[in-house]
């Protein structure tokens, strides 16, 4: 794992600013430490030599100033970390959302996971910028400065530090290599065990149904104990690396102290230089130790950034490309009544053909149902028309072939209705700058949503409506767009899957009415009521059976 990803600097300009500020802070920090150690030793040596405190007031002032600068630097690092992390998070967030928008149909394994990664997940940058990077910068800036000062004050002590310091990372890497195998072997078992309590709480109602809830105590105890034994086995090794770090640091201080002490006796080193070096020695190791200690805390931040960078850098996936590259057959009959024209459309998912060579023409006034077993690719056909799903073959909507223009000429409601926070009316009139209440009411009525008031609020996660109501409001949204913009094509995906028969009848009536108005309606459905009302039923068979 890289401690500092160049891609992060490339995508987030704030990160570069942060490093610049950090370098200045680290420089101030190094100088303050030197002033601190030199003024303190001057005070101690002076007082022991018999000087009065009043005669040393210059050094007292220097010392106080050094302390204040150190405090300011500590405060500055904290502020810079928070500000830097927040600024970088914002930049990455906006870039990631823009990237997602460039290919709206890109298949995301879990929208919730993606939203967490782009939203709250970036909070993990805080420890990375606030605690890890400062120590990394300090290691690069402060440590060499201090080592140089020690070399000047007492070359032998400096030599000890120069020899021991590089050993620390070497040891860490060695221990890391040795322990990695152990850690990885245990990791899967650990995550599994750590989830057992969650499993138990989640499955409690199932356990109660079967009268097993009273037996769980012994099981938790056994599981948690197993978890403890395995975790301790891992920790014994994990803690070794910080043990070695700490031991190396304190033994070097001891080595320096003893060597200075012995040389003070024969007078080959001065008391002042000796005390100065003694005060500096622990400071030399501090940033290195902290880098090690914070590395795991920051790993989360690095992972968070990398998840988002992966979204940003992912290649665009626009369903329109293939269609543009293969324009519609010029010899095809041009017919003003044709609203939707699919020619030789093939769709592949994960390399597996889902739809193969589909030809489909919808004319004005037609209500066509798309049927077929689930998994045959019915929704993918709608996705291809919308330009969300990559496909081969030509698709035109109202004579237009590129994806954005196709979307301009149709209204659509997907299988999983997505409502946005706001009111029902705002959702129904989505994308219309000036909604008309009457149009909204009519759309709701036509979508059999008389049980939903336009002013009803919808929560951040769709709270406030039942599943069926949500579906119907999404349909009302499509009807609203269709009418207000006077579009020729309506696409619906399983509009009545969770609807009772009475409301289904209303909806079917609406669809027939739209066809009568001269629009084309393509609806994916299994429901007998919908299939019966359709002028035609086009069945898509699973490709594997067709061959």
């Amino acid at each position: 794992m890289r401690p500092l990803d160049p891609a992060l600097l490339r995508h987030a300009r704030s990160a570069r600013w942060y490093l610049l500020v950090g370098a200045v802070l680290a420089g101030a920090q190094a100088l303050a430490i030197l002033a601190f150690a030199w003024s303190l030793q001057s005070l101690v040596v002076g007082l022991i030599d018999g000087a009065s405190l009043a005669s040393l007031s210059t050094w007292t002032a220097w010392f106080a100033a050094a302390v204040v600068v150190r405090a300011l630097v500590a405060w500055g690092w904290d502020a810079a970390g928070t500000i830097g992390a927040a600024a970088v998070a914002s930049e990455l967030r906006v870039a990631a959302l823009r990237a997602l928008g460039r290919s709206p149909g890109r298949r995301i394994d879990s929208t919730v996971d993606t939203a967490v990664a782009v939203g709250g997940g970036l909070d993990a940058l805080q420890p990375y910028f606030g605690r890890f990077l400062p120590q990394l910068v300090a290691t690069v800036v402060v440590v060499p400065t201090l080592v140089l000062a020690v070399l000047v004050a007492d070359p032998l002590s400096g030599l000890i530090l120069v020899i021991v310091l590089p050993l620390v990372p070497v040891f860490m890497v060695l221990i890391g290599l040795v322990t990695r195998a152990v850690q990885e072997r245990q990791w899967a078992a650990l995550t599994h065990l750590s989830r057992q309590f969650l499993e138990l709480v989640g499955g409690l109602s199932t356990l109660i149904v079967h009268g097993r809830q009273h037996r769980q105590e012994a099981r938790i105890r056994a599981d948690t104990d197993d978890y403890r034994v395995r975790t301790m086995r891992v920790l014994r090794v994990t803690f070794l690396s910080s043990f070695v770090l700490e031991l190396a640091a304190s033994l070097s201080v001891a080595l320096v102290a003893v060597s200075i002490g012995l040389r003070l006796v024969d007078g080959t080193v001065a008391f002042a230089a000796g005390l100065f070096v003694l005060l500096l020695a622990p400071e030399v190791f501090l940033p290195v130790r902290n880098v090690g200690a914070q590395f795991h805390a920051s790993a989360e931040g690095i992972t968070a950034a990398r998840n988002v960078l992966a979204l940003i850098d992912a290649p665009d996936e626009d369903g329109a490309d293939a269609a543009v590259s293969r324009p519609a057959d010029p010899g095809a009959p041009s017919d003003d009544d044709v609203v939707l024209d699919l020619r030789g459309v093939s769709i592949a998912y994960d390399g597996r053909a889902a739809v193969h060579g589909l030809d489909l023409v919808l004319r004005r006034g037609e209500l066509v149902a798309l049927g077929g077993p689930s998994g045959a690719g019915k929704s993918s056909v709608l996705g291809a028309v919308l330009g969300f799903v990559p496909h081969e073959g030509a698709i035109t909507v109202d004579g237009r072939s590129d994806a954005a223009s196709r979307r301009d000429r149709l209204a659509w409601a997907g299988q999983e209705a997505v409502l946005l926070p706001g009111t029902v009316a705002e959702n129904v009139a989505l994308g219309e700058p000036e909604p008309h209440p009457e149009a909204v009411r009519r759309a709701l009525r036509d979508a059999a949503s008389d049980d939903v008031a336009p002013e009803q609020p919808i929560g951040a996660r769709g709270e406030g409506l039942s599943g069926g109501q949500t579906d119907r409001v999404a349909i009302a949204r499509a009807l609203h767009r269709l009418r207000v913009r006077d579009l020729p094509l309506l696409l619906l995906d399983e509009p009545t899957a969770a609807t009772d028969p009475e409301r289904e009848a209303v909806l079917v009536h609406t669809l027939r009415g739209l066809a009568r108005e001269g629009r084309a309606v393509l609806v994916v459905s299994h429901r007998p009521a919908v299939l019966e009302a359709a002028d035609r039923v086009v069945r898509i068979e699973a490709v594997t059976h067709v061959g």
């Binding site: 101690v44 978890y227 200075i260």
Partner: protein, 563 residues
């Protein structure tokens, strides 16, 4: 509130005997840190007086010993501390389960709304930070610091007093000041963080919709707006949050200067030797290094306290209204020798407990229903009509008013566990444990052998599926990720059949199943499930009438008496 909070926090604290060793080791490690600086300061200051080298040997030995001791004790402290905390985790979890079992499932927000589940269990596990990251490091540091101050006091009492005062003052400013500032900042930031998460989630989930309705730009602007407000709040808060680090640095300087002032007099008067003076002046630096754990522990304490509040909020001490209360002298159900019992519901009313974090639920306002032994009854009604409420009343998850008799005995007077031996439930979202299929079936009847399990799987139509996947050892994945909604229902039915409930309630078994597979699933469930049992099927969907004996309609929480 504080008594409430103590309930969870007490569960998290290990007993003293388990706790003493890590605290002692922590004190030894912190003490070594201080002693290392004291010994090396003494060694150098004493050596500067150029005594015979023999006089230094004690210092040399001390420096080396403390250097090794510091790392070694720290390593041992971390190991023993984690071990103690993990041992306590078992007690903590068991104690928590004892508290939540009487509430589950309907009185516990975490089991009613899946998204609260992970937070609840994380909160419970986070309570173990109380011993590990709050009490133990602070206790070790305090012991070491008190001893160090005592040592300074032995050399120069005035200096010890000054250092102690500066230390207490500095830590107070660092912890309390930072606490106040970050509480205020958090209060401003937390809601913004929530709105940002919501805005991002709405944007990502609604992206296809937003694109299809030309609304992507507007949504992006909304996210950017919340983001900017959050960033401004964070930047404002950052100005205050660095206070702890700055205060510790200032305190260290002040302690050194104070000790110097106080010890300068005795040094000049000859009451204090040079090497001892060096110790008195420099040891405060090490003391402050050790004391640095206090602000960190304080911040952790606030996190732990919030977790404890959430846990206690999620697990009310008193049974909330709507849950059945345990029966003191339960009645026995008549021994059911002749098949399933007769169920008689007269004007049954019930409602869900009102829980924080769980939205309004649908109440029953009067159900009249008689189910004769062996009958297959469909309870149909739109979503929100109270059908699941009815199911939960039938299995004793929810309390009811009115009368619900099982073979003539009032169900509320029967021990709920006994009631559930007669009436079983296949939940709408059956929980599959993240293990293999065998374990997911065995807990329903643990003496069943593999042949019996496979036979049951055959009857629920999963036999081929299980064999294709390599038999009973096949994993179902985390939260049943490797299993479809229909298969999960079939597994739940297999469990119910293993448990051999005389009455089986199926709650929306086709809710998460493709329409075209739903009919086949229902036919299989009813064919396999009925088999001499009473089956109460609850569904918002129309069901092939030939599959059931009778259909009743549930609307607005009511099932009218049969005419």
């Amino acid at each position: 509130m504080s008594a409430e909070r103590n309930r969870s926090l007490r569960l998290a604290m290990p007993p003293a005997r388990r706790f003493a060793l890590p605290v002692l080791l922590g004190a030894l490690s912190a003490g070594s840190t201080i002693a290392l600086l004291a010994a090396s300061a003494w060694l150098i200051a004493r050596a500067a007086e150029q005594p015979p080298i023999l006089f230094l040997s004690l210092g040399v030995v001390g420096v080396r010993a403390f250097a090794i001791g510091r790392g070694l004790f720290r390593y041992l402290e971390r190991l023993t501390g984690h071990d103690a905390a993990f041992r306590q985790l078992a007690d903590l979890r068991v104690g928590m389960v004892r508290r939540i079992v009487p509430l589950a499932p309907d009185g516990l927000a975490a089991t009613r709304r899946g998204d609260l589940l992970a937070r609840f269990t994380d909160d419970v596990d986070e309570l173990q930070d109380l011993p590990l990251r709050v009490v133990q490091p602070v206790a070790g540091a305090v012991i070491a610091i008190v001893l160090a101050l005592a040592g300074i006091a032995w050399l120069a009492p005035g200096a010890a007093l000054v250092v102690a005062l500066v230390l207490v003052l500095g830590l107070l400013v660092a912890t309390l000041g930072q606490g106040v500032l970050s509480v205020r900042a958090e209060r401003r930031i937390a809601p913004l963080r929530g709105s940002l998460a919501d805005a991002v989630l709405a944007h990502v989930q609604g992206l296809p919709t937003l694109v299809a309705y030309d609304a992507e730009g507007a949504s992006l602007a909304r996210v950017a707006d919340v983001d900017a407000r959050l960033r401004r709040a964070r930047v404002r808060a950052a100005v205050g949050s660095g206070l702890a680090g700055a205060a510790v640095a200032i305190t260290a300087g002040a302690a050194v200067l104070g000790a110097m002032q106080a010890a300068a007099g005795p040094l000049a008067a000859g009451a204090l030797g040079g090497p001892e003076f060096a110790i008195v002046v420099l040891v405060p630096l090490a003391i402050l290094e050790v004391a640095g754990v206090v602000p960190v522990a304080w911040a952790t304490w606030r996190t732990v306290r919030r977790s404890a509040e959430r846990v206690d909020g999620a697990v009310p001490e008193d049974l909330p209204a709507g849950l059945p209360t345990p029966v003191a002298a339960p009645q026995q159900l008549p021994a059911g020798t002749d098949g399933p019992p007769l169920l008689e519901l007269r004007d049954v009313r019930a409602s869900w407990p009102d829980l924080a974090g769980v939205g309004a639920s649908h109440a029953l306002g009067g159900v009249d229903l008689v189910v004769r032994p062996g009958e297959r009854v469909l309870v149909r009604g739109p979503s929100g009509a109270g059908k699941t409420t009815l199911a939960h009343v039938l299995v004793g998850f929810l309390a009811y008013e009115g009368s619900f008799r099982v073979d003539g005995v009032e169900a509320s007077e029967v021990d709920a566990d006994r009631l559930r031996e007669r009436i079983g439930l296949c939940e709408q979202r059956p929980w599959l444990f993240d293990t293999d299929i065998r374990q997911n079936l065995l807990f329903a009847r643990d003496d069943a052998d593999d042949d019996a399990l496979l036979a049951v799987l055959d009857r629920v139509g999963l036999g081929d599926w299980v064999r294709e996947r390599g038999g009973l050892d096949a994993s179902v994945g985390e939260r049943g990720a490797l299993v479809s909604g229909g298969q999960a229902q079939r597994i739940a039915l297999a469990r119910a059949m293993l448990a051999d409930f005389p009455v089986l309630v199926l709650d929306e078994p086709t809710a998460n199943v493709d329409q075209e597979r739903a009919d086949a699933l229902l036919a299989d469930l009813l064919a396999a499930g009925a088999d001499g049992r009473t089956v109460i099927l609850i569904s918002h969907d129309r069901v092939d009438p030939s599959l059931v004996d009778r259909t009743v309609v549930c609307a607005d929480g009511r099932v009218p008496a049969a005419t």
